[in-house]
């Protein structure tokens, strides 16, 4: 099978809508078909990466928890945008350890992906 590269960009907060869950399901499918898959969290998508999310009382599945299993699912990199983080009232310490700031020249590198999906 041919191998293409995919970047999934998440810009929405968790739990209030299904957008991120849909993007993640799609990303997991791409990885299951052995494609090259990366993820990038920007804007309110930063909130997807917060530790200690506990959705038990809300009675919904915690889709954000799936992010901690990204590498298990075969997703290569889990990046966040440092600029987005800097204007949010949270810090890098509040984020799960599975993510890292994207490389400085990443906006140029983005032209190398075969597919970019915004969710």
């Amino acid at each position: 099978m041919q191998k293409k590269s995919f970047l999934f960009i998440f810009s929405q907060a968790p739990h209030s809508n299904l957008s991120a869950k849909e993007g993640m399901d799609f990303a997991f499918s791409c990885a299951a078909f052995e494609q090259d898959v990366d993820a990038l969290f920007i804007d309110d998508g930063i909130f997807q990466l917060l530790k200690h999310q506990d959705t038990k009382a809300l009675q919904v599945k915690n889709h954000s928890a799936g992010i901690e299993a990204f590498s298990l699912y075969g997703i290569n990199h889990c990046y966040y945008d440092a600029n987005s983080l800097s204007i949010k009232p949270v810090t890098a310490n509040d984020l799960i350890s599975e993510c890292s700031p994207c490389p400085e020249d990443f906006s140029e590198k983005m032209s190398g992906y075969d597919f970019i999906y915004h969710y």
Partner: protein
Amino acid sequence: MTLYICKHNISLESIPEKLTQDDAVILIEDGVYQALNTVNVLAKVYVLDEDVQARGIANKIPSTISSINYSGFVKLTEVHQRIITL
């Protein structure tokens, strides 16, 4: 004597309504992220605990904002005659 239900991550200072000290605001759903910013309004501000827990920000809610559950939400609807959803 109005209860404002804020369910989006939007600044309370941007709404057209003028909040007074007789009013209350309950931050729910994505509105709870507003509790992490300095909220400069005269009204008393509450957050819905279930939504705070789900979003992992329980340890970041300032002491000036009261965390309440659905039972507390009901109480707020009892004492405020007018309820506006933002």
